[in-house]
């Protein structure tokens, strides 16, 4: 697999605040890569540095063979960015906005017109070309933001919290557009998010906290490693069950009418169930979610 982005010991401080304290990771071409972390973890700072906007204090960033700080214009041609806050002009129409930004990549005439049409078609905004950007709904605006990022047909698309502030339905909509882009056009997507569902759809997740990498892996690996699984048992006779558990030195927690037992792998539940089989009224095994993994990694509740 080709590594389209490669980051080595990246650091950035603002005066006394150490925003990014040495990051190492890479992004594979054609994958959906999620950068996950609580607010203020250094996600946006890292994206800003990869996108040539901020200069790193130290470290090296390679993007498709070009080094940030040396071939910035080359990198800028290869990337598309959807910023956290909207950066288009509310008073101009969708077509004008995307056309103006397209012209900054040296596109003009027929070529530019086609690029604008294509980008807007991908996000399904062709019916709104003549509407002022400021008069669109939040979800429509986000789509235009994505169209703007696509106008130079980038190799990699960066999205900084693309669905923050959208209602659940619109969020799903925008999210589908993003994952279609990745699957159908084989585009590399690099996104930051603090929504767990989105991270669990990614091919690879890097969790950062306090400017450092706290964990990385596929969503399944992270869940496996950091999210505990639980066995819940509703006993026929509670005391007898507790006795059996104590005898076997199994840790448990008493809930109102259930006993919960943390287990490493879901199959571990079979062994325990065997020992207490006669005493079970009902049971269930719950696999850890990305939420649990996140809390397991950062020790913090994720903000919803």
């Amino acid at each position: 697999m080709n590594k389209i982005v490669q980051v080595t010991s990246l650091k950035k401080s603002y005066k006394d605040v150490h925003a990014v304290k040495g990051l190492d990771f890479y992004v594979e071409e054609g994958k959906l890569f999620a950068f996950l972390g609580p607010n203020g973890a250094g996600k946006s700072t890292t994206i800003d540095m990869i996108c040539t906007y901020l200069r790193p204090d130290s470290g090296k960033i390679l993007l498709d063979g070009s080094e940030v700080g040396k071939n910035d214009d080359e990198i800028r041609r290869k990337i598309g960015i959807v910023f956290q806050d909207s950066v288009l002009d509310p008073i101009l129409t969708v077509r004008e906005n995307v056309t103006i930004r397209g012209s900054m990549y040296g596109l003009h005439g027929k070529e530019l017109k086609e690029a604008v049409e294509n980008a807007c078609e991908v996000v399904g905004m062709t019916d709104f070309m003549k509407r002022p950007y400021g008069k669109l709904s939040g979800g429509q605006r986000r789509r235009v933001d994505i169209a703007r990022a696509l106008v130079n047909t980038p190799k990699i698309l960066f999205l900084d919290e693309p669905t923050t502030g959208l209602d659940p339905q619109t969020r799903v909509n925008v999210w589908n557009t993003i994952s279609d882009l990745q699957k159908q056009n084989n585009m590399t997507i690099f996104l930051t998010t603090h929504y767990m569902e989105e991270a669990s759809d990614a091919d690879y997740v890097v969790v950062i906290d306090d400017g450092k990498i706290a964990a990385k892996g596929t969503p399944a690996q992270l869940k496996e490693k950091y999210a505990g699984n639980y066995l819940y048992i509703v006993p026929k006779n509670k005391d007898s069950l507790l006795n059996t558990l104590k005898k076997n030195k199994i840790t448990y927690k008493q809930n109102i009418d259930t006993i919960s037992i943390p287990i490493v792998h879901t199959v571990d539940s079979l062994e325990i169930l065997d020992k207490v089989r006669e005493n079970i009224d009902s049971f269930e095994v719950i696999k850890g979610t990305m939420d649990d993994a996140f809390i397991g990694i950062t020790g913090k509740e994720i903000r919803r």
Partner: protein, 289 residues
């Protein structure tokens, strides 16, 4: 570059309220003049033949000189807004040079200043010709166009310098409001410069835009002043003419020395060069931050 300029122009002209407010300085002047100041001035000049004719030239000269101050300020609003809303982040992450971007703001503001001044110029020439204050000739038109262009560019540079010191939209609207209100006094178009006290006169005479007003007055009031002074006996005409020119600021005097037209032109060009250099300096200093 051209697409950035056209973006800035569209943003400026589509925001009707911003256009209105950037014209506020002019509207205030026109309002004041036609509502009450005009009568006061002409009453004070009752010894002259038809003072209202040359005073029409006087007020229009003032308007022509300040139009490009407030309108270019308004146009530079886009630059401040882009900073505040972090829109420039999008530009900086595109393969476009920062200097091209800055030039885009400057050129579009200059274009706004030129367009607005051109509109006022047409109104002025038609209005004054209709009132028989001027006789339209090719020479007059060429002079007016060249002077309007120089005024616009010089004022663009000044506005750029002011805006280059501003970082927030709040500061920008406060300062452009103050500018709109002050500009009429600073250039001596609300109150004739001769009616101000010594110190204030000096401020007006040192303010570059005032020299644009002076030059416009010299072109637009020449005929009508010569006509107006004919009410005086022949022997007193020269003295009366010199005095009225001094009071109305058709000619600026520093002490006893008259400031020549060439000198005024030089001051406008000088302002253009100095303010441009200062702006390049402040803008560059910020870029590294």
């Amino acid at each position: 570059m051209s697409s950035i300029v056209s973006r800035n122009l569209k943003i400026y002209f589509r925001d009707k309220s911003a256009v209105f407010f950037s014209l506020l300085g002019i509207l205030i002047t026109v309002g004041l003049y036609f509502l009450f100041l005009g009568d006061t001035y002409t009453d004070g000049l009752a010894d002259f033949n038809h003072p209202e004719i040359f005073m029409a030239g006087w007020i229009m000269s003032g308007l022509l000189s300040i139009t490009s101050v407030t309108t270019t300020m308004g146009a530079f609003g886009t630059m401040v807004q882009d900073k505040e809303k972090k829109i420039y982040k999008d530009f900086y992450c595109s393969p476009i040079k920062r200097s091209v971007l800055t030039m885009g703001y400057i050129i579009s503001s200059a274009v706004v200043g030129l367009i607005m001044t051109a509109v006022v110029l047409v109104i002025t020439v038609v209005y004054l010709a209709a009132n028989e204050a001027i006789v339209i000739s090719a020479m007059l038109v060429v002079k007016m166009i060249l002077l309007s262009a120089l005024t616009s560019l010089s004022n663009t540079a000044m506005a750029l310098f002011i805006v280059s010191l501003i970082n927030s939209e709040k500061a920008f609207s406060a300062i452009s409001g103050v500018m709109s209100a002050l500009i009429g006094f600073l250039t001596g178009i609300y109150i004739p410069v001769g009616n101000l006290d010594e110190g204030v006169q000096m401020v007006v005479k040192c303010f570059p835009t005032s020299h644009s007003a002076v030059l416009f007055r010299q072109i637009l009031m020449e005929n009508s002043l010569n006509e107006g002074v004919k009410s005086y006996p022949a022997a007193a005409q020269a003295e009366a003419l010199a005095e009225v020119k001094d009071v109305l600021g058709v000619v600026f005097k520093f002490g006893e020395t008259e400031c020549s037209a060439e000198m005024s032109l030089l001051i406008l060009v000088g302002a253009l060069v100095v303010f441009s250099s200062l702006s390049i300096f402040t803008l560059n200093r910020k870029k590294t931050a």
